[in-house]
Assembly symmetry: C2
Homo-oligomer: 332 residues x 2
């Protein structure tokens, strides 16, 4: 790729992470270094057209900040949440982006920026980012699990991102861990997401508070705003009994899920990321690891399967997006 | 392979399925046709050495029956139950074969027969057999689920049998479907095997009988022998209420597991085999399929993911073993 652009000139791609509250764009070189970045509020309430225009502006800002000639920027890799078609670049719908329904994001942005734009699901890209540049470097088979408002995931199999037959692989949040358990956002029952996401923890904490339980969460949550990973971390620091109990439950379910995954596809590594994992750090992993190992069906060398924290934080998405852009340019 | 054996002469491998009660050996040509076969009782109580000698005799019988020159038989592919090391050909232990502990099965048999012997886990081989010659022909990604005394499985990913990082992929029976559910043979709780295997069904049926419930199973089970898939099929034919209820529960859990698998790795097909599936036939699948589809997180075109019955019955193992022998000869 880029043969005609001169043998010595470095090439760049822009990785973009479009979220419900902010847009992050990073100019990334061939080695995964972020040369420059730009950030903007999404202002999702203004609708798809305005949001895409803001994304384009953010990309241009990042390129200007990098001080590289535009022709050395080969493509944009972009990640968005929710159901989308990576091949056609269409976002089917996005829970955090009102009015987004069958939006041809890649095409519209490509026309605005005059470079190819490739779209990918955010947790798939995050998993790929961790695999290529983060915690999973050097592994052939890993699974990423991202615990935040929901629980998403991605699979690296045989060194490659696994998209799946219908383009839906990695939906770990909707693996059933407790048949007939609590109702999930998807409408079914007992999915991991209904047991171990921040939303599930918030539900359990609010229920306990409503029934008169004492907790520092009563103060933290008093304005009715949704729980944040920072609040959970703060309550843990204060050794809040209720939060510790609810968190321990979530960790137990995450451990059971990890065991199911290991018993099923037998990967080399499971990487935990997302807001909750980042806010709590290593102590978050310990009980997950203990439960998982107890449930491994192969009890030989349980430590061989590494269960670790993600390393890239907010950059997993943009670095994964950049990787996808380069891969798909190469195969285009 | 086999370059020196003449360009026109067909080559054969012998597929062997070693079970707790019988040994089946089949001479298989390059197209997967069973040219001849031989069967013997395992007589597991006589211990590893005697059993291996009986396996060797069964292989020789099958070759004699095929009426092909011994030098056209390139290798033996062999499957055995339970934890084993496919690479070194050692059976770690085998619940149905008393006294088997770290038995160098491949090496011993290879010395006796003077051909290379390759070992594989039985459900992995069954999945491979179904993929190459059975229900999964033409798919790139499929999962095999075999429901019998236990529940085993195998994965075909990107057209190849997935063994996993520690050689343990496909243990669908130990994916956790009901956290804190009934105790499993592995010592943990809530594994699929503790909810949906024939053993789990027998447990529930005997409990109901003990508490005075009426059922044709009272007669069928009266001599204390373990339940068979044939008994379950017979009770279903007689529309026995208890059996139908217990079976429906098992099918529901199998449906939930199928959804977990589809939501996770998004395969093209899930194939159900094993004694219970074979004895009950297509009606066994219907409720599994309905539950699974309800729990798919991607509700677009749920019918695209095919959930079907295995086609090869007892031959899945020997044909998978034969395939493995040819593959490993080729890469040796």
């Amino acid at each position: 790729m880029a043969k005609k652009r001169g043998k010595r000139k470095p090439t760049y791609v822009v990785g973009v992470d479009l979220g419900g509250t902010k847009v992050l764009a990073a100019v990334v070189d061939g080695k995964g270094n972020v040369v420059s970045e730009a950030k903007r509020r999404t202002r999702a309430e203004q609708g798809p057209e305005a949001v895409i225009a803001r994304v384009a502006r953010t990309v241009r800002d990042a390129i200007q900040g990098a001080d590289v000639p535009a022709r050395q920027v080969l493509a944009v890799g972009m990640v968005a949440p929710g159901p989308l078609d990576a091949e056609t670049g269409v976002v089917y719908c996005a829970p955090n982006l009102p009015g987004w329904e069958d939006v041809p994001l890649a095409k519209t942005l490509s026309q605005a920026l005059e470079v190819p734009v490739f779209l990918e699901n955010d947790v798939n890209a995050g998993t790929l980012g961790e695999h290529v540049y983060g915690a999973g470097q050097g592994t052939r088979d890993m699974v990423g699990i991202f615990v935040g408002t929901g629980v998403g995931g991605g699979i690296i199999a045989d060194g490659k991102l696994r998209r799946g037959f219908r383009g839906n692989a990695g939906e770990v949040g909707h693996m059933i861990v407790q048949a007939d358990g609590p109702v999930c956002g998807c409408g079914n029952r007992g999915c991991l997401e209904a047991l171990a996401s921040r939303t599930a923890m918030e539900r359990d904490i609010r229920e306990a508070l409503d029934s008169g339980r004492q907790s520092v969460m009563a103060d933290l949550l008093k304005d009715g705003a949704p729980i944040t990973s920072g609040m959970i971390a703060e309550a843990v620091r204060q050794e809040d009994e209720l939060t510790l109990k609810v968190l321990a439950q979530a960790q137990r379910y995450l451990g059971l899920l990890t065991a199911s995954i290991v018993n099923f596809i037998d990967p080399e590594m499971v990487v935990f990321g997302g807001g909750v994992a980042e806010a709590l750090g290593k102590p978050f992993l310990k009980p997950i690891r203990a439960t998982a190992r107890q449930y491994f069906v192969n009890q030989r060398d349980v430590g061989q399967v590494r269960i670790v924290l993600a390393k890239l934080g907010d950059y997993a998405g943009v670095l994964g997006a950049a990787t996808i852009a380069r891969q798909r340019l190469g195969s285009a």
